[in-house]
Amino acid sequence: MKCTKQTTAILAFCLLLALSGCGGAQSASVSDSELEASQTETAAGETSFTVTDMTGRDITLDGAATRVVALTASDCEILYAVGAGDTLVGRGEYCDYPDEVASIPTVQSGENTNIEQIIALKPEVVLMSSMAQTEEQVEALSNAGIQVVVSDATDIDGVYTAIELIGSVVGRGDQAEAVIQSMKQAFTDIEAKVPGDGSKTIYFEVSPLEYGLWTAGSGTFMDEMATMLGLKNAFADVEGWAEISQEQVIERNPDYIVTITIYDGQGDTPVEEIMGRQGWQSITAVQNGAVFNADSNEVSRPGPRLADAMESLYGFVYGDGSTGAETAAA
């Protein structure tokens, strides 16, 4: 009984992360799922074409999709980024960006995915991430004549692939390419001006002390961003998302701390809470007030906003104030 509860709790936690778009949680399982370019990519609905999704399944569409349900927040963001927000007829309950999505009907996602709800919306395509999908669900949807396209980005290159994939599904290949280019440009610009040599360390706090410390180890977007910022992830030796102990953080003595805790508007802000922790006063980041509350969705969703996340992290670490990074005073 206890073990089951334990497992359930952990699963629920993973699910929460997955649903809020933290695709980075899984270690790369689909490494070479390259998007094989569609045959004839024309504007809406003339020729049928085939795309290969990120689990390697071939999907043939009669034409660019005009009715789409996106179960994963990042897919929803990508859809809007490529200018196909008008094709969205249903969204997973955690899709909350951009603000326009609020008017789109929600469907349940993840383990609660409700096939009936989706079918009732009569979409041509359902976008989901690999974590949210079971074989039975996919089969039930395809039996109802709905195509399932799976995105499974575990690194930033994967995000490009996902954008390209979704772009071609809705017939917006050019816009997708433009989004990718602008993301690449943003990352290159930042990398070019980063002075760091990888000697300073950064610690990402995914869940606060009150609930047990979780961090983002190697194979996560945060880890990848740390590298681009010329920093070393203090927990690079840990795989994926993991629960760690306070003493490890104190010993590893990070130079920067980034928390993604969402402030609930009561009591101490996440940054104040970290600054005030007993025993953490010996940590360089706390001494220098180098603690930053990043937007949880920006840094963990495999979508176009990773570039924004990168910019605010750059602003925090190198303090050119370009993003108004909120750095607490000691």
Partner: protein, 343 residues
């Protein structure tokens, strides 16, 4: 079977205390970060004697992370074992315990309700969750016992355990239900259910210590009455025990103590079940010896379990409940097997 004196001798208390202290020391010295024993001891000495602790890694880790955690774990272990022991005596049932009866999960329902509806006492963090956990622990105990009496006045093992299983399942589904409707509190609830003693602060130490001093003393004072219960309720009544009153008071104390432990450290299974058994094998069934001995053995067991949880996968942390349940299951089967075989 050797005979035991009625109460523990002073020397026996000293021995138990010594073993407990040594275990605590070991658990403070060993952890996922290696700190030389000499530094550890000097930091412990500074902390306990009220001197300022040096602001370096070893000072911070020992004084603010490990010391509170080990103390909290020890106190929780002592409290849970004492509760288990008192319930087993009261119900004359070797399988009675907060986790098997569903009192702990009942307490969780209270805590989750407090989080979902934002019940809190301004200025005192955790107070809302704790009060609700205590209240629901007591209510659960009442419901479970009332149902059991209705079904089977002799309160046989099977009845109690079956009701416990059903109540446990009921509580889990109520928690799932609350979670489904909790909206933006979902995250808080999920994180709370994963909470553990890993983040214990000095405040938590004082809270559990206070609860143990108050409610533990109450339970210990009823050792004689528990002995009378062990032979049977009628017998207890015949030797002049106010059965209803004693039952009610012990149950209130037990639920309050479990409520405090659950709200701080979450549900930790098997401690209250296994430890009284093992202790009984050593000191005998007399509650005047058993209850105090259980306090110490519970503390020792949980400290060691926590130590394993901290170092087995370092730098990762394992949940303490995983360790207690794995060890607990094996010990339980062993005890069950040997006692059955002896018959």
């Amino acid at each position: 079977m050797k005979t035991h004196s009625l109460i523990l001798k002073l020397s026996q208390y000293a021995l138990l205390l010594l073993v407990t202290l040594c275990t605590a020391l070991l658990c403070i010295c060993v952890g996922s970060v290696n700190i030389p024993a000499k530094d550890t001891l000097s930091v412990i000495w500074d902390t306990l004697s009220g001197q300022p602790v040096e602001e370096n890694v070893s000072g911070a880790v020992i004084a603010f992370v490990r010391l509170p955690r080990v103390l909290c774990v020890a106190l929780a272990g002592a409290s849970l074992s004492l509760c288990g022991c008192a319930m087993q005596g009261l119900l004359r049932n070797p399988l009675a315990d907060g986790s098997t009866l569903g009192v702990s999960s009942g307490a969780s329902v209270g805590a989750v309700l407090a989080i979902a509806f934002g019940i809190s006492v301004p200025g005192v963090p955790l107070a809302g969750t704790m009060a609700m956990a205590m209240l629901f622990a007591f209510l659960s105990l009442m419901i479970i016992l009332a149902l059991s009496y209705r079904l089977d006045a002799s309160l046989s093992t099977n009845t109690i355990i079956l009701i416990g299983i059903v109540f446990n399942m009921f509580s889990s589904s109520v928690i799932s239900l609350i979670t489904s409707f909790a909206g933006d509190k979902v995250k808080d609830i999920v994180f709370w259910t994963m909470g553990s003693l890993a983040d214990s602060s000095v405040t938590d130490v004082w809270t559990i210590l206070g609860a143990l001093l108050i409610f533990g003393t109450v339970i210990l004072r009823y050792a004689k009455e528990l002995n009378a219960f062990a032979i049977g309720e009628d017998n207890a009544r015949n030797v002049g025990v106010d059965v209803k009153k004693v039952k009610l008071i012990v149950m209130i104390a037990v639920s309050a103590l479990i409520g405090v432990c659950v709200s701080i450290g979450g549900v930790i299974g098997f401690v209250g079940l296994i430890i009284p058994h093992m202790t009984r094998m050593i000191v005998g069934p007399n509650h005047r010896r058993l209850l105090p001995a259980t306090l110490f053995s519970g503390a020792i067991f949980l400290m060691l379990a926590d130590l394993l949880a901290r170092i087995i996968l370092k730098p990762l942390e394992l949940h303490i409940g995983v360790v207690t349940s794995v060890i607990g299951s094996f010990v339980f089967i062993f005890i069950f097997y040997t006692t059955r075989k002896a018959k």
